[in-house]
């Protein structure tokens, strides 16, 4: 079977083409989805890409969250469809309340762009099963509002339930609480990640290919389903 992974384009998305390319390199078929179209064309999974949807007006992801395509994505994510939100996509997932917490201005106030080391702390989600538990990977990170915050109770619950998917190593680039780089929902089908695995899928254009695992994980999960 061919696995079809939708990639949503919002006005202001930047990394939708790179996400499509990562999906293709992983062996799946990328399907371009449009923010104004409620129809997600029976895709098996959805990636919400990085960028500055709606110019980050109001708050990052706040307006995208109410776009027609998100009505369908939110409903199907609640029914178990795998969804990966990268960077701005992570912000959209938090604004949609599919994931807890929020992403706020970096504590340094600077936009940060670097190759970032991460530890995969939950290799059991739909998007991380091709990694080893506690595997260390390096992928690009680029954000101005990537500081993950949540109240202590929520942070404790995320840790206790193993929902911290990835944590920053060596450097905390944005002041995220407890060095959190990515989290999942309770079911593990929805993952939000601030760094960009889709930029680390080919040696020519990234720091390596250690980001590809997010996309091969979903392929393997869907083929075995």
């Amino acid at each position: 079977m061919t696995v079809r992974v939708g990639v949503v384009t919002f006005p202001g998305s930047l990394d939708d083409r790179d996400a499509q390319r990562a999906v293709r390199l992983a062996g799946a078929e990328p399907v371009a989805l449009w923010h104004r179209d409620k129809d997600i064309h029976q895709v098996d999974a959805v990636v919400l890409p990085g960028g500055f949807s709606y110019g980050d007006y109001l708050r990052c992801g706040a307006i995208s969250r109410f776009s027609p395509v998100m009505d369908t994505v939110i409903a199907q994510a609640r029914d178990g469809m795998p969804v990966l939100g990268i960077c701005n996509g992570f912000q959209v997932l938090c604004e949609s309340h599919l994931l807890p917490g929020a992403l706020t201005r970096n504590d340094s106030l600077h936009f940060v762009c670097r190759d970032q080391k991460l530890r995969i702390e939950n290799a059991g989600t739909a998007w991380t099963s091709d990694y080893a538990q506690d595997q260390e990977i390096t992928v690009p990170l680029k954000n101005g509002e990537g500081r993950f915050v949540a109240d202590e109770h929520t942070l404790d619950a995320l840790e206790a339930e193993g929902r911290v998917v990835a944590r920053y190593l060596d450097v905390n680039p944005n002041g995220s609480y407890r060095d959190i780089a990515g989290i999942s929902n309770a079911a593990g089908n929805v993952v939000g990640l601030m760094p960009h695995p889709e930029h680390a899928v080919e040696p020519l254009t990234g720091p390596g290919t250690e980001g590809l695992g997010f996309f091969t994980s979903i392929l393997r999960k869907l083929v075995n389903a």
Binding site: L58, A62, F66, E95, A102, T104, S108, R147
Partner: protein, 84 residues
Amino acid sequence: MARVVVDVMLKPEILDPQGQAVQRALPRLGFAGISDVRQGKRFELELDGPADEATLARIREAAETFLANTVIEDFTVRVEEEAK
């Protein structure tokens, strides 16, 4: 016809690095004695009709679901002017 103002502020426990940067710049410009700055957003909503209780309830709903992210922000709603 009325104007309703919605003020949105980061919750006290959420770090406001922009406010801190403003606070640090003030003494350099000669404005002394300001110990803290918090930066927020102000929305001015012009209504077609009067700001009655039902309308204000809808505006509070809009503030809670859209204008503010209540995970990190608090908001207040007030009627600024009731035109004659």
